[in-house]
Amino acid sequence: MLFRILNNLTLEHFLKKTNFYIVIVAMFFLILIVRLVYLEIFAYEKYKLLSENNRIRIVDIKADRGLIKDRNSKNIVVNAPNYNLYVIKEDSVDIDVLLQDLSSVIKLNVSAAQKRVDGMFIYEPALLYRGLSFQEVSFLFEHINDFPGIKIEVDTVRCYLDGEVYSHVVGYMGEVLVEDVLGGGYAAGDLKGQNGIEKVYEDKLRGQNGARQVEVNNFGLLNKILSEKPSISGETIQLSIDFDLQSFAHNLMKGKKGAIVVLDIRTNEVILLYSGPTYDLNSFIPYISNEEWEKLANNGDNPLMNRVIEGGYPPGSVFKVLMALAGLQEGKITPEKTFYCNGSMTYGSFKYKCWKKYGHGKIDLRRALVESCDVYFYDLGLLLGIDLISSYATKLGFGQITGIDLPNEKAGLFPSRKWKKKAYKLSWYPGETIITSIGQGYIITTPLQVAVFFSTIFNGGNLYQPKVVKSYTQNGEYISLQDKLIDTVEISDRNRDFLLSAMSDAVNSLHGTGFRARVKNILVGGKTGTSQVVSLDKVEKYEDGKIPEKLRDHSWFASVFPADNPRYVLVTMIEHGGSGGRSASSITGAIVNKMVDLGYVNRK
């Protein structure tokens, strides 16, 4: 029976137990009371004192940020000491007066400073000014008693071997946002990588802050260190970038807009990654002023954009390499296959022109690549159809990010029937296949995508993720980044060798479009490309060489060398550089020469 009344004997036992229980509870409560008596009455004075100035505080010990080295272990980013001015409101006598006084000594924006002070927790130091000069530091230290509540702390800022050469790779630092403070374990005023390697490898570079438990005196000044947890410095990052080569490219690209990228086919390491115009990383040290930031962000030449991975351009004739590869692999053509070029091709009611007004005549694949005949590829395009072209392009990395360890990479675009239906609700026209065949129309690629595409062809068909970081340290030991295979494409050795020899002819033969990229004793294979910015008839009225810069075509040159034993891929893209045979290929020639000097390639 679940519910029952206890008999008298049991009830008495129950009551006895209950009373005993009350006694036990009372005893426990008594212990608690005794403890409160001790804390609040006997030790009152001690705790009152501790609480009054909140004398026991935790102070962060900032960890040193990790260094960044280039591939030859040259330190390209290190840390430099920097003096910052903080104020603790609770330690100051009158915060408004203090800020006024300070503004007469240093260039302090009082209203911005006030806002920062208001945003702090009690006894949390507010960062007022970054980068005090030595004069200011010594003045403030001499007159420290006139400024109760201030604190001068050394922290570190980045110090660059060169502020402009590798801005887009390394990226700038900036102050953390509120979200980082609330959820990311940062303190207000901390610096954090905002772009480039500094951003992607923030967690490795950042290190772990230590802490110090201190007792302070009435003025908030350090009295005694009670305990300390040391900080752990950030890891060192070694880039695959070559600083010397990068500097050389920087000089070459002065006054030009565009991108250069060199990719090592065997290691998938990016040795050179340059985007012009560049910006000065030093303008972010110790912090960037609003005016300067506005100037950078609103600059029409867009110096903040990393054109290698963020710039989207039609690849132009560089794309013909993919067309040739697809045609050969699919068995639609052989190298001996000829088409007839009379300067244009008529399809439907449209006339598609070749760049050579009077035509190439009867032409085979090799000559079509060497002389960049458009009509040949129009025909080939129609033979392949958009579906095959699109599937090859996608397999070779077009229309998707390469996955390089840099932020803000753009995927570009490669069109297909499905895409057009979705984007325009229209079906695909054969005419669009024709212009796609010479790398125009809807296609948007980044220079890095072209480099990865070339690398994939010449490494035997493996699409790898490129990287700018070679290795990083972990507990003092260097750990190399693993290669990441994304996809494989079947490419026969015969077809690869044919493309190589056709491309080296494009540079080295009499009629080759890329003759400006010739380098003494080094066999360079390459393909020029010209991507139209506006349609041909708009620029036809101008004489050659007098076309306004904005309307000039983008100039491409994608190359591989040494052509007899492919090791490096170099892609150059010059915005509004005119035809690819001109500016891009001559820059390519200069870079290859420099790489020979630096010992990357041996002259025969």
């Binding site: 009344i5 049991t10 409160l36 609040e40 501790l50 009054e52 438990q213």
Partner: protein, 371 residues
Amino acid sequence: MLIGNKYNFRHFDITLFILTILLMCTGVFVIYSASYNHKTGVSEYYYMKQIYWIIAGLFTFLFFSLLNYKRLVNFAYLFYLLGVILLLFVLIKGQIGMGAQRWINIADFRLQPSEFFKIAWILVIAVQFSDFDCNKLGFVQILKKSSVLVIPFILIFLQPDLGTATIFLATWAIALLFRGIKKITFILLLVISLIAVPSIWFQLKDYQKDRVLTFLNPEKDPFGAGYHIIQSKIAIGSGGFFGKGFLSGTQSHLNFLPEKHTDFVFSVLNEEFGFFGGMLLILLFFTLLIRILQIASIAREITGQMICIAVASICFFQFFVNAAMTVGMMPVVGIPMPFISYGGSSLITFTSMLGIVNSIALNRFKNPGDL
């Protein structure tokens, strides 16, 4: 006699009701102060939410008062089963909060099944120990009775919520001690638990180990949990006899005390109202416990009596552990103070339990079998 008189409001336990309200109101004051922002001059929304919960809590108190507790006792194991299912559910699908899975989100509410399971738990305890007599329990009997403890304990332990798991274990242990254990068995159990402790230790998450170690030696980690204990002690000690005054606590308004509206309410109370305030709260709780135990004595039906013992135990254990933690006598475990700490699930659970106790008082003159 009063048998047949379905709801006799003369026996409504007004003392219990008033004590509940007093405790909950104290809670609102402390929560208001704990989440008060001196910069803006307003308190965060917590106290308003707590007021809504109190209103809901009063309704649950009345609801359970009017419901004959025997109906609940009859379904004790059903509630137990439902509770276990909820605990399983939260373990599998629950929201991850503070490194532990403790909540289920329903609409905008975050329900904590381990809180509600406490209601089922006191009912199960009552049924298990309704065989109360003068004989003491032997080892086998204890083992048999303890089988119901295993599943919920493991489920909550895995969340991992060590604090709440101990609550279930502790109330069980208190009920067991109340029931009476043979001397030899007691010694045997003691030895077993001494062996069990190390094996549980290896199951603990690092942060839990840290907390226990920190308690044993606060100097070990003066930056994390140890720092909180130090700050909590400073807050309480600097309160003195009468405290610093409402909203005038300095320590508790700093960023030093974590979860000050849940785990560290006792520190805030002591800093602002001093020893006087702390004593008042201790007395309030003591009176509440005595009142519950008195109802246990005057009730004439054993499941009702055992429910009272269980409810008193859970209130006592949570209050004591929470307070002892803030004064540095126990490790920092996330056990809220009943009625005072912020949190809807906890408040509703405790008002329900006191409602059941009130129902025991209301129905105490009925025949055992009458519903």
